[in-house]
Amino acid sequence: MSIVSIDKDAENLRLVLVAEFAAPIERVWRLWSDPRQLERWWGPPSHPATVEEHDLSAGGTVTYFMTGPEGERTRGWWRVTAAEPPRALEFTDGFADAEGAPNGDLPATAVRVRLAERDGTTRMELRFTFESGEHMAMLERWGAFDVFPQSVAQMDAIVAGSA
């Protein structure tokens, strides 16, 4: 049994996941702090991850790419905002373009990791929040994306009709 609970809050676009591992806190921390271990769980089997930069101190950066079945690469980054090994880690997780630069068009997620050991069991709490700016952008997209492609098609039709 790993996952203890998952709470989803659609209003605030927040998700809290609690998991427990029968292992000491240092062992669970290493899943995050050792890039070779991070690679083994970050990407699904179909999209294994390769971690390039890996600096888990506050202000540090983690960069990675995932390789898909056709060899296509998806790049991502973390910006570490707080770190207190082996108990706490906070970072923003976002998408990157082909060169690895942050892609501001896709939503970034704030992730807060808390680890606590008790009687040889380590409890890991993960809290995900869509960043407010991105969250707003998402809201706009939810509304706007539905109509925008249609209005572009409409413009095309008008331009074609008047040509």
């Binding site: 996952i3 659609a10 209003e11 676009l13 996941l17 591992f21 209005s151």
Partner: protein
């Protein structure tokens, strides 16, 4: 197919911070207009105007229940919010599972 003026109304509705915040509050909950009026430092009438702009843009609907007027987002937007969270959940269920496997394989 929406007319250009529908698109204008939509962008106008979303161009205001208070209206975006109202929309945000309506995603999962169904606040009443009077409840919203308590939240913002503005009059009931001013909040009502903001809600009307959102309503004209097709982003929310108002429903009278007793003495209250409830404000709701359209179901599709809520559905998309839920789907985004469901995707996040699915991704992390897989990750936690792989973490557990890794710990079992390399306990030390």
């Amino acid at each position: 197919m929406p007319a250009d003026e529908d698109v204008d109304r939509l962008f106008h509705a979303l161009s205001d911070t208070t209206r975006r915040d109202i929309l945000h509050r309506c995603i999962a909950g169904e606040p009443s207009v009077s409840r919203l009026a308590e939240v913002y430092p503005m009059s009931f009438a001013a909040v009502q105007k903001h809600v009307a702009v959102l309503e004209r843009a097709g982003l929310v609907t108002k429903e009278r229940r007793g003495r209250e007027q409830l404000v709701r987002t359209d179901g599709a937007a809520v559905e998309r919010a839920r789907r985004a969270l469901d995707e996040l959940e699915a991704a992390w269920r897989g990750r936690v599972e792989r973490m557990a496997v890794l710990i079992a394989e390399m306990p030390g």
